[in-house]
Symmetry: C2
Subunit: 345 residues, 2 copies
């Protein structure tokens, strides 16, 4: 398809008599990139290797892909991820798919860009567990086969830096997008792409008010300047039984980063693309199924009680946000000939 068409917002007026016509948008065929890190094939190639390589974690067992699995929904299907030595943290791994369309990263938006985000897990003691980024980078530098990849991507003047590694991973992630879901095909005019139930669910999704937060092409809010972040209070209606049942007040959200009272329980609105693949749900995987997640969200965010049929319809619609995934090769990672980076014991 033509890039020009794909980059435009595509207005799709629902033909059913909905109260408020909602502007449905297809995902662009390309993700935006910052001016100081244009996406190039060479960076993407290097970024893919770094993303898949477990040797930069303390134990040599955890890569980006361990928790953000590109063979699955871009996450790990766990409530909270498991890093080095079987350690776990307090939040659920967000999907890497379409993370390029978020204006801030992490559940609390503490990273302004994918470049910033890529640095976080490497030194997080419950994720990759390295003591500092330079030590991780020294492992990369110790692998002779990485040098030509860095040189092709960033030139020959001292290219093997933490900054460039983060840029490469971010560039790669900007290609990990899924612009060809049934929903996208439907919005672009293929009326057979979504089933009748899915189309009903689409209308219910908008009419219920889900789109007040989950708007835009990635269903994570309006397109905003890089670093902005689109946050909402969760839960909004604190008196729901669900709040107790799923311990929804435990995590103070963005407040943990800023310390500002107005950020209490604020969370980034996550994308709903590929949401059917990323159970369990919410910021700590509190809810096991998508049905329950839809029911709880309607209640604690919109104070609405959905019927089982409405839930089923919305879930059917959300399943229409899955894929299509780009084909890629299983990479061969540059070797460490004759010795190991991980240590002999």
């Amino acid at each position: 398809m033509h890039l020009k068409t794909s980059l435009l917002s595509i207005v799709f007026a629902l033909t059913t008599n909905t109260a408020t016509a909602y502007e449905w948008q297809a995902l662009p065929e390309q993700a935006p990139a910052p001016a100081d890190n244009p996406t190039t094939a060479e960076k993407v190639e290097l970024g893919r290797l770094l993303y898949m390589d477990p040797r930069f974690s303390q134990t040599g067992t955890v890569s980006c892909n361990s928790c953000h699995n590109l063979m699955l929904g871009g996450d790990d299907n766990r409530p909270v991820s498991m890093g080095v030595h079987g350690k776990t943290g307090g939040r659920s791994a967000p999907t890497v798919w379409n993370s390029a369309f978020s204006s801030a990263q992490f559940w609390d938006g503490r990273a302004a860009s994918l470049e910033d985000q890529a640095r976080g897990p490497v030194t997080n003691p419950v994720e990759m567990g390295m003591s500092d980024l330079e030590k991780a980078m020294n492992r990369v530098r110790a692998i002779p086969g990485y040098k030509p990849y860095f040189e092709r991507a960033f030139g020959t003047d001292n290219p093997m830096t933490v900054d460039n590694a983060a840029k490469a991973v971010a560039a790669f992630e900007r290609t990990m997008i899924t612009p060809d879901s049934p929903y996208d095909r439907f919005v672009k005019g293929d009326k057979e792409a979504l089933t009748e139930q899915q189309q009903r669910g689409m209308k219910t999704f908008a009419d219920t008010g889900c789109t007040s937060c989950h708007s835009g092409p990635a269903f994570n809010g309006p397109t905003m300047a890089a670093g902005t972040g689109f946050f909402m209070k969760f839960p909004t209606f604190e008196d729901s039984d669900y709040v107790q049942r799923y311990d929804l007040m435990k995590d103070k959200g963005r407040f943990e980063v800023t310390g500002k009272k107005e950020d209490l329980h604020l969370f980034k609105v996550p994308t709903l693309r590929n949401i059917a693949l990323t159970a369990p749900y919410f910021h700590a995987g509190q809810v096991a199924t998508l049905d329950e997640a839809v029911k709880v969200m309607a209640k604690v965010q919109l104070n609405k009680t959905l019927s089982d049929e409405q839930v089923a319809d919305i879930v059917a619609f959300l399943n229409g946000l899955t894929g299509g995934f780009p084909e890629q090769k299983l990479p061969r990672l540059p070797a460490t000939p004759g010795w190991t980076l991980i240590g002999s014991k």
Copy 2:
């Protein structure tokens, strides 16, 4: 190349004046398969998915590929592997590359086939940690997208069994072979494929006596009937300083399986193909570098002290046993739409 040629042992007489002409063999282009599990494209396709899928481990974090990484040397570059909850065992993960050419599996040969081997790690508490194989299989059965793969591979009459899953993984592993190394090209007549140093190392390797154990196309001993296993005592010369330094008597080897005195410290002779990629070395990763591994092996197995130059030459030769690796796609694993297999907590 023609299959017929490739499956024959290719005799290559060294042109240098070696005392004993050694019969160098190229790796066959295809691995042998047992009569009850012929390799088919459909099994290989299913086997690849199962091999890469972490959801059948207790924590959802460990797949076959976690410890036998196909993006690397078919292992994890760790002394001993790290399974669920960061647990470790007592032995080093052998490479999956060319495991199809071993007549028994595991360091102690306790599995007679790849089919047998595939069952082991799933219920090993320090590997994938499932309580039993049927529970692991229930997870596979719970993923709707796996059914058509099993049906295509094994027919529609109750195909989703542990037996068939093991057969598929084994069939896949029989395609994970590396018959196009520089060594293979050299043996087949390309005299430029190995450097002068590598050719010198090849002669030293044979003259020193390494080939008395590391013989055959996979350098893991003579071709034997499936289930036989080719074992050697390690260490053979127990009075070497290395035995103390690297604690080589600690593991009783095959004795742990059979309880027979004659099996004390017997280990399967491992393949040397891709050995440059699988540091650290020996059955518990006791030695960090290939140089040291060569030196120690010559001493404790053959009672020979190699010069630094001889070691360097042999290591250069061993580097010629690396690759070429088959290209393959990063698979998309069948999804668990709307829920998770791993559990909500």
